[in-house]
């Protein structure tokens, strides 16, 4: 435990060497399933829809790395820690996108609670820091993310997530850059015990149009998952595998864009507890 806290402090204090992207699905599983994640559970739900970590039963630590189109300047790093308690799950997260010349950082404090099987609610308070090199300066903003999930039937789970619902922005920047609102909702359908389908729609107010995402996951062998997904706007096909044992999980994904090529994602989760 002490070690974990040390690690978290270390991650938080050395933020300047990390880099991160603005809101987009996190985790090797989500990446492999076309980005669909709003109705998923687990540690990475903290970033994708905090309601999904309400039922987490183990103390978990996750690390995630993504490299868009194999460009070092677009590296994307993320760390998260979750602590289940009697009164809900608490979480800490850190994301960074970019390089030393330009980077965006997000520090989050998350909380999620379930109210029976029908309703899980999650909230994350965010502190955002935008750094632009060559003395252009640092800019910050505060906002929050909200999510709900519901297991409406044995097979069907619905989720909704909103980042920055009241449209806060970076006031001090030259162009008064607005933070986007990101609104997504979707569903996960458990076709059989070992086969899951997910789909969702997302609107990011900074981008034209909406993004549709869908993904499939199949537990081919015990604890070994194979996944595939598709996403529109941008059009991406994705594939991945995941392997999980009691205290550790590793998920790897590759996303293919027709013009820009491949991106690689890797995520690891370590958990303590029963």
């Amino acid at each position: 435990m002490k070690r974990l806290l040390l690690l978290i402090t270390l991650i938080l204090s050395t933020s300047s060497i990390f880099a991160y992207d603005i809101i987009h699905p996190i985790g090797g599983r989500a990446a492999a399933m076309g980005g669909s994640s709003v109705a998923s559970q687990g540690l990475w739900a903290m970033q994708n829809n905090p309601a999904g970590m309400a039922n987490l039963d183990k103390i978990s630590l996750g690390l995630y790395y993504e490299n868009h189109w194999m460009l070092p300047e677009t590296a994307y790093k993320c760390g998260a820690f979750a602590l289940p308690t009697k009164f809900g799950t608490l979480g800490l997260s850190f994301n960074q996108f970019g390089s030393s010349k330009y980077n965006e950082n997000k520090f989050g404090l998350a909380y999620a609670k379930d109210f029976g099987r029908y309703l899980q609610i999650g909230l994350q308070l965010d502190y955002l820091l935008l750094k632009i090199g060559n003395d252009y300066g640092k800019f910050n903003a505060v906002t929050f993310e909200l999510g709900i999930q519901s297991h409406v039937t044995d097979k069907l789970t619905l989720g909704t997530y909103i980042f920055n619902p009241v449209n806060f922005s970076f006031e001090q920047t030259l162009n008064h850059e607005k933070l986007p609102i990101v609104f997504r909702f979707g569903m996960a359908y458990q076709f059989t015990k070992d086969f899951v389908g997910q789909c969702e729609i997302e609107k990011n107010t900074d981008l034209e149009g909406v993004s549709l995402r869908a993904g499939l996951e199949y537990e081919a062998v015990k604890n070994l998952y194979i996944r595939a997904g598709v996403q529109t706007n941008p059009g991406i096909l994705s594939f991945g595998v995941g392997y999980g044992i009691r205290f550790a999980q590793i998920n790897v994904a590759a996303q293919l864009h027709n013009e820009l090529g491949a991106s690689v994602q890797i995520g690891m989760i370590f958990s303590i507890g029963k």
Binding site: T160, I201, T205, V210
Partner: protein
């Protein structure tokens, strides 16, 4: 014996389903969802300013005054398109077989009533003895009558240009640059109902911007308005209605609506038209209905009575009311002649110009309807004659030369219906006769006068319980004129139009439902902004699925192609070209536990311009309603974002509103929309509603134009309503 088994089975179901009853039998959720979809389709069809209250009045009345399953009243469910004629027949058959209904859950055993239909009608039916023959006494009326008073206030909180301060001389220079009244809208509605048999009520209304008791209007403006100046409510209406009194089937004094046959000859007020699609293509005239809504256009004011004996029933009516019109005067050598250049339909009297048109001419209508019905067959004849106190002379244009002009119009029509077994055949033929005898008009002699015809015929086949097809053909002559026609069609005019409609409803698997239709139409003459006869089509597909009793989703596609003049600036003569609008919508309703109701909606609209460029519109929303059982309060919240750069790709999204009020705003631009609606029942007789909504735009700093212009990027609307029931 059969009866006994049935009762035992029902008892079993009742006790078994007790936990669900509180939700399922009392919740009008299914009915609401049905109406929401239909109202949204209506808005998409272009009737943006439509007064939904007028249309939905009957549904609201029904939800508060359920029909008795063991009486003839069940027909009202067909009239309101909640069940099909086939399902009505099945209900009657069930009653003939097993006797009167004893439990609502028996509905689930009626053949042909699917789960969805049962969910829709359950809250609006009840079980009782047939009381239609009971005597009515004053004593009973006083004791069992229900009184209700609805007061509503609404306002846009930001200042709109029309309410900005202005001095008199500036206003006189530009008299229509301001509204004379204040921005509050007020409405009071009182109704009395005795067992659906005796109904009475009055309605008072003042729209935003209309003058009221307290407004200070300067002397010069009063003088300018002359006798058009008034103080108090702009709209005052009342009705007194009775039904089933011996041979008097229905009688009304005051404001009312009439609906007969397929609506081609006489259907005042609104109807769902194409919006209702599916099983509602065949209309069921509901005869006389009292009108309590505050809509100020398209209704009758006077008296009407329906008498019935045996297979015959007959209605006669007379209406006499003042309507809004723009009066002009022409000087001829002999004298000055008055004429009106248009009839105003909005019901707004806010500016000097609008006030000058207020109640400018008198419209009188007299007519009747005769029905003969035996077993499965029904035939009706309708005739009515309209007088205007001042003749209508439209500003001459090519497209309107067959429109009604003059001051007298006669309409006649013959409708029929045959429903038996798997078939329903229906139709109507109508004729209009224009007695225009006024001054010369540029297009005289081109058949604008004299007789013209219109007709429609349709067939619905139901080969199996889960499947039905409808085919319908319509041909409305280009000179067919009728001020009170509301039959199935494209656009709001039943004139100069031909079309074929093909529809299908099928339940391919349990909990799955599919509705599809194609409507192909031609306009046989020019229409507004279309410089040639034109054509188009309308495709619709909707797939719905129930995951369980409390989780329903649907996916809907709609594609509509119509012709409109090209807007190409380099073309000298504007010729019509095709425009297509496509829309896809996904909607899911679900419940979190018993108390929280949620819905998500995503919609995409696409519009192709004539230069090949495309417009896109997007809309996403989350609805959360907290409605605790057995608690006197509820809260509803919506969070939505939209992104539709162009008006053509606008999105219509129904919003929950205070009771008896409906809103379907058209959203375009880029921004977000939130609203919060609260309801609290203070004590048994008094319920309060309040709603505040705000639209915030991120792409512009001004909202609206002209008199409704708001300087700022947000628009906030507030509504407060009190309902007092006794």
């Amino acid at each position: 014996m059969k009866r006994l088994v049935l009762i035992i089975v029902s008892l079993f179901i009742v006790s078994f389903a007790k936990a669900q009853i509180a939700i399922d039998t009392l919740s009008t959720e299914a009915l609401n969802n049905l109406l929401i979809e239909q109202v949204e389709r209506l808005a998409e069809d272009g009737d943006e300013d439509a007064d939904y209250e007028d249309l939905l009045e009957n549904y609201i009345f029904l939800s508060e005054n359920p029909v008795n399953l063991n009486s003839e009243e069940t027909m009202r469910l067909v009239e309101l398109h909640l069940i099909s004629v086939f399902q009505y027949e099945e209900l009657q058959k069930y009653r003939r077989f097993y006797g009167d209904f004893m439990f609502l859950d028996e509905l689930e055993m009626v053949e042909g009533l699917d789960e969805q239909t049962v969910a829709i009608i359950k809250p609006v039916v009840c079980i009782g003895k047939d009381e239609s023959k009971d005597k009515i006494t004053l004593n009973k009326m006083a004791r069992y009558g229900k009184h209700q008073l609805v007061s509503r206030y609404e306002q846009v909180l930001e200042q709109q240009q029309g309410y900005a301060p202005i001095d008199d001389s500036a206003l006189l220079a530009k008299p229509n640059s301001r509204y004379l009244g204040r921005p509050q809208k007020l409405q009071f509605k009182y109704t009395y109902n005795y067992r659906n048999k005796i109904r009475a009520g009055f309605t008072l209304e003042k729209d935003a911007g209309e003058m009221f008791f307290t407004d200070k209007v300067s002397d010069t403006i009063q003088k300018l308005l002359g006798n058009q100046y008034y103080r108090g409510f702009d709209f005052i209406g009342f009705h007194l209605y009775a039904k089933d009194l011996g041979i008097v089937k229905a009688a009304v004094l005051g404001d009312y609506q009439l609906a007969f046959g397929q609506g081609l000859t006489l259907w005042s007020g609104m109807s769902f038209g194409k919006a209702g699609a599916g099983s509602s293509v065949m209309k069921q005239g509901r005869g006389i209905t009292p009108k309590g809504s505050a809509s100020e256009y398209a209704f009758m004011r006077g008296a009407a009575v329906t008498l019935g004996a045996g297979a015959f029933s007959g209605t006669i009516f007379y209406s006499n009311r003042l309507v809004d019109a723009n009066i002009s005067v022409t000087d001829t050598l002999e004298s000055e002649a008055e004429f009106v250049s248009s009839l105003q339909e909005t019901g707004y009297h806010r500016t000097i110009g609008e006030l000058q048109d207020r109640h400018a001419i008198r419209q009188q209508i007299v007519g009747g309807h005769l029905t003969f019905a035996i077993a499965h067959f029904e035939v009706g004849y309708t005739a009515h004659h309209t007088w205007l106190s001042v003749p209508l002379e439209l500003k001459p244009s090519h497209y309107n030369q067959f429109y009604f002009q003059g001051n007298q119009l006669t309409n006649q029509g013959l409708d029929f219906k045959y429903v038996k077994g798997k078939y329903a055949v229906f139709g109507e033929v109508a004729m209009s006769m224009n007695y225009d005898s006024t001054a010369l008009r540029p297009f005289d002699g081109l058949w604008a006068q004299g007789p013209a015809f219109a007709g429609l015929v349709g067939l619905t086949v139901k080969p199996a319980g889960y499947l039905n097809f409808t085919i319908m053909y319509r041909d409305y002559g280009k000179a067919y004129q009728n001020l009170y026609s509301n039959a199935f069609g494209e656009g709001s005019r039943n004139q100069g139009q031909r079309g074929i409609y093909l529809g299908m409803e099928v339940a391919p698997a349990p909990y799955w439902n599919l509705l599809a239709y194609v409507d192909q139409f031609q306009f046989t003459w020019l229409t507004s902004q279309v410089n040639a006869p034109s054509r188009g089509h309308d495709y619709y597909l909707r797939v719905s699925h129930s995951f369980n009793r409390r989780t329903q989703a649907y996916l809907q596609f709609r594609s509509k192609t119509k012709m409109k003049n090209s807007t190409d600036a380099f073309v000298f003569s504007h010729y019509p070209i095709f425009y297509t609008k496509n829309a896809v919508r996904f909607n899911i309703n679900y419940q979190l536990g018993w108390d929280i109701h949620c819905a998500n909606k995503a919609e995409y609209a696409h519009y192709r311009n004539d230069d090949g460029s495309n417009e896109h519109g997007y809309f996403l929303c989350q609805d959360i309603a907290y409605k605790p059982e057995n608690k006197p309060y509820s809260l509803t919240f919506r969070y939505a974002i939209f992104d539709a750069k162009d008006y053509n790709a606008r999105i219509y999204a129904y919003e929950n509103d205070v009771l008896y009020s409906f809103s379907v705003p058209a959203l375009y631009g880029k921004g977000m929309r939130v609203y919060l609606l609260g309801k609290v029942k203070l004590f048994n007789a008094l319920t309060l509603y309040a709603r505040i909504g705000r639209t915030i735009y991120s792409d512009h700093d001004e909202i609206g134009s002209g008199l409704t212009l708001i300087e700022g990027n947000h628009k906030t609307d507030l509504k407060v309503e009190a309902i007092w029931k006794l």
